[in-house]
């Protein structure tokens, strides 16, 4: 039977030290973290992008990822969306007493792997162990910082009428995967999370295209909610065509079965790119050359007719609003 996590491991004493040196440094170690000072000594210059996020996903392991890699990808992507190279992240853990030590080890190893792949260093962290029942197995907080290398950097406030709206791939994969795994639902074709670090692709895109107005990753609330936020922030209409929005057949089928809309489901490895129309083809070419964005598409354009709103053209040529979600999507009765 696997060894269980005891409250002692959060005491700050010898048990904590064993956890830090035996597990955390083994998977996350680097020159900065290994010093184990009260804070990390960092060298950063110029404008900085910073973001924090807390990950409480259930289940901890899912097709395409786990809470550890997700905690790195989520924060790295957020930092990158401002036109920054993510450099450093922190890792705060809230652990439930009784957690299997080998589950913890798998997750920490995954954090280390994801950080290495994204090219960021975990430079400081914190561990709290709370009594059984006070938390659900493991919660992870990550904060990331990166150096902004384009000015003005992309922002949700910068969409302009005439811009093209691009997305880097299929919508809803992560959200439906988590839901189906959590509820024990299976579909004809398997679904898999798209969790991935997008920073390398973002850096390439920003280096090769001089003017990108908006970069956003459509995480919780999905494409519909994120575009609604951009429409409000920039006071423009985001006009998109449903037929051009890529959705995997398995995701579309699963959503249809459950009465959910893939445009509101979370994505963890996709981004929205809004830029002047003249750069759209070049951006798509760069995106499609990367394994993380082979299904990139232009899905619409920025207009000024309905400021603050997202208008969807349906496949049959009708138009309707695509509003922000009110609360969580819930499966329907029939």
């Amino acid at each position: 039977m696997s060894q269980k996590l005891l409250l002692d491991y959060g005491s700050g004493g010898k048990a904590s030290q064993r956890l830090i040196s035996g597990m955390f440094l083994k998977y996350l170690g680097n020159d900065r973290l290994n010093r184990l000072d009260d804070a990390a000594f960092l060298e950063l210059s110029g404008p900085i992008s910073m973001s924090t996020d807390t990950f409480t996903v259930d289940p901890l392991f899912f097709p395409g990822g786990d809470i550890g890699s997700l905690a790195v990808h989520g924060t790295v992507n957020d930092v990158a969306m401002l036109g920054a190279r993510p450099r450093f992240i922190t890792c705060g853990l809230i652990l439930e007493e009784g957690l299997d030590m080998d589950v913890l080890e798998r997750i920490i190893a995954s954090v280390g792997r994801a950080a290495r792949n994204a090219g960021v260093e975990v430079v400081t962290g914190d561990t709290k162990v709370v009594p059984r029942g006070a938390a659900d197995k493991i919660f992870i907080n990550t904060t990331g910082v990166g150096e902004i290398f384009v000015t003005p950097g992309p922002s949700g406030h910068s969409a302009k009428p005439g811009d093209a709206i691009l997305i880097s791939g299929t919508m809803g994969d992560h959200g439906l995967t988590i839901l189906s795994k959590r509820e024990g639902l299976s579909f004809d074709a398997p679904v898999e999370s798209d969790s991935a670090a997008l920073n390398h692709l973002i850096v390439r895109l920003l280096q090769e295209i001089p003017e990108i107005h908006v970069l956003r990753d459509p995480t919780r609330g999905g494409l519909a909610t994120t575009l609604s936020e951009i429409a409000l922030q920039s006071n423009v209409e985001c006009f998109i065509r449903e037929k051009d929005i890529p959705v995997r057949e398995a995701v579309a089928g699963g959503c249809s079965f459950l009465g959910l809309d893939p445009l509101y489901l979370a994505n963890e490895g996709k981004f929205i790119c809004i830029l002047p129309e003249k750069f759209a083809d070049k951006a798509l070419e760069i995106m499609r050359s990367d394994v993380l964005a082979t299904n990139a598409q232009q899905i619409g354009e920025v207009r000024k007719d309905h400021p603050g709103k997202v208008v969807l053209e349906t496949p049959i040529g009708g138009h309707r609003l695509l509003d922000m979600l009110e609360g969580a999507q819930l499966p329907r009765i029939c």
Binding site: P315, G317, H319, D323, C334
Partner: protein
Amino acid sequence: MNSLEQKLKDPKLCRSIVGRINEELDGELRFMEVCGTHTVSIFQSGVRSLLPDGIIHLSGPGCPVCVTHEREVAAFLDLAERKDVIVATFGDLMRVPGPNKRNLKAAQAEGARIKVVYSPFDAVNLAKEHPGDKVVFLGVGFETTAPTIAATIKIAQEAGVNNFLVLSFHKLVPPVMKVLVEDPELAVNAFMLPGHVCMVSGLEPYRFLADKHGIPAVVTGFEPVDILRSILTFIRMRNKGEAAVTNGYVRAVADGGNPKAQAIMNEVFEPCDALFRGMGSIPAAGLGIREAYGDFDAIRALGLTLPDVPPLAGCKCGDVLRGKIRPDECPLFKKVCTPANPVGPCMVSTEGSCAAYYKYQI
């Protein structure tokens, strides 16, 4: 997507039918779709925005969440407060407002044990996992879901799961349609009949619409082509001075319905009077659990009664459900009543007509 599905969403075919509708429409046509899934489909697919101004689209009492009476919601909330009960429910009941705007989501946040399930069978498993508690499944829905819940009760009986109960507030569509068409203020020329419900019941229970009241009605599927074809059928019947109940959803609906589903539904349930939100009590419009399955009836087993609840002040959901007003004609619409702060059920349900107007209308 298979070729049939593609055909039923085909933009060219849709445009061609819209063209016929425009050519053949002679005067105003006010049609009502009775099913919440149709409501959403008409908006989501963009069909609504393609229809000419002369076609007025109204949503009737076919969203099971919308028609759930506030006294029934109060009963859910009373149930959720009981320490020995775990409530199992489909997700869309969680936000339905009851007395004092309380809902199951708020009750859950306050500690009530409520589990959202994807199938009534999940509720039976929940009962097996919690033998010391009573697991009560909230039985809300029309003929579409009633047979499955009847089958669940039989399965629980066979498996000896004695702590599984159903609170049956099921409703039947034909009786409420009788009330609608007998209303002297009826302002509907045609009915789009609920495809899912008719898969179980067939067409027979709806013949009275044409035979007695001269109103055309079409059983309709949920794709854009299904919906547009039904509208064209209404127009053509009217232009010829005919009225019939026809089946526009033959790929799923047999004229006689599904005898097996009917049989199991009738074995476990019996007709009873039912409360409809905004419409009051309608004779024989509900399904109660028969005495033979009384051990699974939450009302009998827990001695439940429906609490008295004052009607919602200013809420016009009843008029919306009867097709008397459009959602945007309600004085509360978008002002006091929004999806974030729903006053009435038509705004809270994802299939409600007020929510659809709010969400989809540009």
